[in-house]
């Protein structure tokens, strides 16, 4: 039996550069503000009762910056945004709910656990990343190759 993996759409330089930029952003936030650049935690902390006003303000400013950057990207390189993908309302609602509940339960996401947690050599983050990656691979396999949706 022959197994092979077909590689397509590999954007090596942009993805590596973008990743490095994200890493720099997280490093800035830690060096100056001593905070984890975990987007789910930042967002959740802003809207729930968890924190004091000071802890809410920096989160608000971070998210404003995030939105500004998103705006810049949408104007300068719109093909890099979700404009290039077909989105369906039901898909968005289900995935949004799962992402919200899941990141809240696990207290982190790709940035919180994946970028910051791994850098801290946190066992919780290592476990979380392994599980959400495997879960992601499995889900896409079912969606694309069992249910025949998308891809």
């Amino acid at each position: 039996m022959v197994y092979y993996i077909v590689i397509e759409n590999f954007t090596l330089i942009p993805s590596l550069s973008g990743g490095i930029i994200i890493g720099l952003s997280a490093s800035l936030l830690m060096l100056f503000n001593g905070r984890i650049a975990g987007i789910s935690g930042i967002t959740k902390g802003l809207i729930t009762k968890e924190h004091s006003n000071n802890e809410k303000y920096w989160r608000l400013f971070f998210l404003i910056g995030l939105l500004m950057g998103g705006f810049i990207i949408s104007i300068t390189m719109p093909s890099m945004t979700a404009k290039s993908s077909k989105l369906h309302p039901i898909q968005m609602i289900i995935s949004g709910l799962l992402v919200g509940i899941g990141t809240s339960l696990s207290n982190g996401c790709t940035s919180g656990h994946g970028i910051c947690g791994l850098a801290r050599k946190s066992t919780r983050s290592i476990v979380s990343v392994i599980i959400f990656m495997l879960s992601g691979f499995f889900t896409v396999y079912i969606l694309f190759h069992v249910l025949g949706l998308g891809g």
Partner: protein, 146 residues
């Protein structure tokens, strides 16, 4: 409100989403392409996390060795080290969700800029997800206290 801390946060958020955009993370097709191992595999997102870790893996330990951050009084780092059910189940659900939508919290929020109602739906659903879990936790806590 316009403090060094908040301005730095704004700058960090700005750089973060520009990085997200350049890397391709804002495009659900690229996320799903990365997760599609047995189909047409797009390894790009491995380079995104790899690139980010190239920086943080080496810089974080140096930063955290300091007594304190530059602007803030203290480092605020997660103290929970237990691998509990919440971590396992939460990670599993997050994996499913981000695969179905091809979006993580950061890219979803950054995509608000494209003014697509589907993205707004995702963001609202995600915020509801935060609330649902948070409210469930405080409800269960109150029940156990009684």
């Amino acid at each position: 409100m316009i403090t060094k801390i908040n301005l730095l946060s704004l700058f960090s958020g700005l750089i973060f989403s520009i990085g997200l955009g350049i890397s391709g993370m804002m495009n659900p097709n690229k996320v799903q392409g990365f997760l599609d191992l047995s189909g047409r595999w797009d390894p790009s997102l491995a380079l995104v996390m790899g690139g980010a870790l190239l920086v943080t893996f080496f810089i974080y330990p140096l930063i955290i060795k300091r007594k304190e951050p530059i602007f803030e009084e203290n480092f605020d780092l997660p103290k929970n080290k237990k691998i509990d059910k919440n971590l396992l189940i939460g990670s599993f659900l997050f994996g499913i969700g981000s695969a179905i939508g091809g979006l993580c919290p950061g890219p979803a929020l950054a995509n608000i800029a494209i003014l697509n109602p589907n993205i707004i739906l995702f963001v609202i659903a995600m915020l509801m997800g935060f609330f649902i879990h948070t409210i469930a936790v405080s409800y269960l806590l109150n029940k156990s206290i009684k």
